[in-house]
Amino acid sequence: MSSLNKSLLIPLGIFIVLVAILAGGFGLKDPHFLPSQLIDQQFPDFSLSELNDPSRQLTASDMRGQVVLVNVWATWCPNCLVEHPELLRISREEGVPLYGINYNDDPFKARQWLVRHNNPFQFNIVDNKGKLGIELGVYGAPETFIVDANGIIRYRHVGPVSRRTWEETLGPIIELLKTNPDRVKG
């Protein structure tokens, strides 16, 4: 066999770099990695304005003191509309505070969306640059977090919340956190 011309390996080299980038990007975003990293961690600090009252600054301390549900949503997200009736029901019937993070969205459109579909949230954090979402490791909307009274993330649900999600996971976990916070493990 004739000797290998080294310059012919250049395309292969470029391709290997490309694969490394793709694989790396992939690892960063793999939703299955995230829970182990964020569960039982402090909810990240932030200082962002409220959707319907832009003069009000919200911080992580606004969520302390009780077990809460934090829902990441956006107007561009069809599944957010799918889970919306269930969120409305939870806020009406379940007695757990529901906070929204309006993620990577146009605040103007978001306000109109809430008027059109009703607002289940006690307040909405405007994360229109997506920074908080990134710190939370949000993969896409909708995602729902259970945060305990000390501001520690205890559970993360990816995708729309249905009645079944509530009955089988969210509800029982919240119940357990309320009655016996120390027994819950992520």
């Binding site: 012919l8 391709f15 490309l18 694969v19 793709l22 990007g25 793999d30």
Partner: protein, 657 residues
Amino acid sequence: MIAELGHFSLILALGLGVCLAVLPTIGVYRRHEGLMRLAGSLSAGLFVFLLISFSCLAYAFWDDDFSVAYVARNSNSALPLQFKLSAIWGAHEGSFLLWTLIMGGWTFAVSLFSGGLSVDMRARVLAIMGALSIGFMLFILLTSNPFDRILPVFPADGADLNPLLQDFGLIVHPPMLYMGYVGFAVPFAFAIATLTTGRLDAAWARWSRPWTNVAWAFLTVGITLGSWWAYYELGWGGWWFWDAVENASFMPWLIGTALIHSLAATEKRGVFKSWTVLLAIFAFSFSLLGAFLVRSGVLTSVHAFAVDPERGMFILAFLVLVIGGSLTLYAIKVSGIKSEAGFDWTARETMILANNLLLVTAAGAVLLGTLYPLIYEAFTDGKKISVGPPYFNAVFVPLMLLLFAIMAISPASRWKKTPRETLRRQFPALIGSLIVVASLVLAFATEVSVAVILIDTLALWIVANLVRDLWSKVANKVAKLPALFQQTMSYYGMLLGHLGIAVTIAGVCTTVYYTEEKDLRMAAGDVAELAGYEFRLNAMRQIKGPNYVADQGEVEVFQEGRSVVKLYPEKRFYAVSKNVMTEADIDPTLFRDLFVALGEPVGDNAWAVRIHYKPFVRWIWFGGLLIALGGFCTVLDRRYRAVKSSRQTAVSLGVAA
């Protein structure tokens, strides 16, 4: 039962795919003609079982079988039939089945129209295509089965197709695009087959050319339709967003464009042999990369599919295997090949080389821009940035301007060396035509903008030199008019393709620089003025469609007091999927579009309304279709049919070899 039948057919097709990849290959190495000849019937079998599988899924959609999870998620009993059927490729699983079916179709087509190939070569090519299909079918069966059932409790009705996709554009856009993407598997298979023989001659270029041109033409149609669909369906009047998924289709197109030119040089002059092989590998690699970007969720985009890391890992592994493998094979096999036919710097080969460098650089720049957010994220601990139109325009436009200038002068060049005599005649003509078109543009430009004048001049210069070239072919003929129709189909293809480019760039440039738009608050009776037209909102009303209800506006447009057209923009609410959709209404003419879209109600019966005046926007897509037509034209060239008629001799020679 039907869904299981579809699933079962797919498994059978996988079995046939494995046979197709393995048996002819054994035949090649054992020199067993019978095994080699199996490739044809195995290809047919593969295609037939994929077709059965696809038809079963189609039946499930037609029959509203909501116990099939994929149907339940993407269809609804109230959905009109044409959308039920196009919903087959409305989401990930079904669209990949379509992709695989098209792969089977191309494989079958190669087996049918490969008469000019030796038995050995045909077996190699089909085996490679079979091997690629194995990957696609495994992907469906292992990670994305569209035939999965939701049993025992299945929904009474489906979740409905995403309203964005309930549109004619979606019925035709993905199949065309996939024809292009997957079509590049054919030159890829030819290239790899040639590499495995170790005889890298110009013959493979002649075999691959018609296939490449057709695949490329389909891709052109697909991209054009996609742009058109984005324009009227996503609302807001944009036609290209440099979105990751658009880039995913545009990169193979750029490489494919380089490939069809480089193949021409390889076929005619035997130059760029190893480079052309590399481009053939690249074109298909970029298609696969596009599939990875769209389906793995590694990049966020308006039209990315649902995300699943398992799928991403599978495609990435497949990429590594196919692309890494072929590039390694390339490095090993091409090493032996040295001297190529030389050419003078004035030759057409130089033009094609420049064309290739510019197109590959452009594709590289688009790739860098598309992946940059990922690279950035990796090096900054997850900080996020997005690369938008400013980057792409800044890099892409100058490259294209250079390319257009080369396009304008290249018809004046000749293969191998442009004779002194020709140069002496052509040079003044080129400069002269440039001066003429530039003065024309300057005379008619209403606004002096350097960009507009430069781009329009280039577009016209391209056309002027195409006309000159055509004229030079008939000028010394006695019967000039018949001579005009006696050129080869390849030549007409080139003319149409280049003309299409000129039309598209004129359209892009004019649309970008002369569009006017307004966002307004309008109640019934309000009038707005834009670009010499008056838009009057006559009334708002509620209407009911098959699976939606809508607010519809009636906007009458007047020009100098005369009524031009009535437009009916809608805001639709799809009851099942609870989606709200903006349906713009457009009055298209050759020279301008009037575009009206409804925003949100803003109180007191008033609505937010967006109106656009977009001159020459149709030219963008009309040009795209001309380009594609050019690609299809070249296949009708008599040369390729001549190859077919010599089938008998070729076969016997092939066996002897």
